[in-house]
């Protein structure tokens, strides 16, 4: 019988792999029957964004690909190169099937159509 005993790493306690993110700037625009969220994520290519909707929380993860070549020496830095993460709580029902997103010039635009049942209804009086 093959029995393998997992090796215990006694050298050091496992360290938590902490990821640091920066919260990107964003703007919300009110369209007629949808909301558009513009998230400013410079240095992020289209394939490096992940948008997830979990109940009423919209989470955007984006990783940057604007690292400078290794032989460049830094003289002065005013902004860092941290990846982005943004979590937004939606207080309006959106239609998850019709959510669309596009990236242009480092801006991620997400269009969230308001769900049918949340749209204002006029009620006729008999």
């Amino acid at each position: 019988m093959n029995s393998t005993i997992a090796k215990q790493d006694n050298a050091q306690p496992s360290t938590v792999n902490r990821m640091e993110y920066r919260s990107p700037r964003y703007e919300v625009h009110n369209l007629d029957d949808a909301y558009r969220v513009d998230v400013y994520v410079p240095g992020v290519k289209k394939d490096n964004t992940r948008i997830t909707l979990d109940k009423d929380t919209l989470t955007i993860n984006a990783t940057r690909s604007d690292q400078v070549p290794g032989n460049w020496e830094s003289i002065h830095r005013e902004y860092d190169g941290m990846d982005f993460q943004l979590s937004l709580n939606l207080n309006v029902d959106v239609d998850p099937d019709r959510i669309s997103a596009k990236t242009e010039d480092g801006v991620l635009s997400i269009t969230l159509p308001i769900a049918e049942k949340a749209k204002p209804k006029t009620i006729a009086v008999d």
Binding site: R22, R25, E27, H29, L31, D38, Y40, V41, P42, G43, V44, K45, S65, D66, V68, P69, N71, W72, E73, S74, I75, H76, R77, E78, Y79, D80, M82, T103, E104, D105, G106, V107
Partner: protein
Amino acid sequence: MRLIKYDNRSVNPLAELDRLFSEALWGGNRFGWERMFEPATGSLRVNLYHDNDALYVTAELPGVSKKDISIQLENAVLTIKGERKVKEGKSESSVSFERAITIGEEINSDKIKAKIEDGILTVTLPKAENRKPKAITVL
């Protein structure tokens, strides 16, 4: 007594003032509350790098298309100017920004290049030939 040389490597002459304002207003946590465009001097954040061949200036300009950016070099001062337009339904608003950086090296001004990709502007300023590091052989 050890003397510590004050090494002001900033090319922005008002960087120290910016830093004091930043700390006073945002409580020292520069990257928590920071807004990309600060209303005071230096309204655009830039990073400066160099290697043997050139000086590089990078800036975060998401949402700015290349036709809205103008870059000029005059008397060793590099000025980056532009505006970001935001569409909201039928109306359009715009935010303008400007940044002037003193370049302390001799630059081959004919060969300056700039490109913007995914909202990151990179300006390459090749160093003039006589300023590149040279190896001198001892005979």
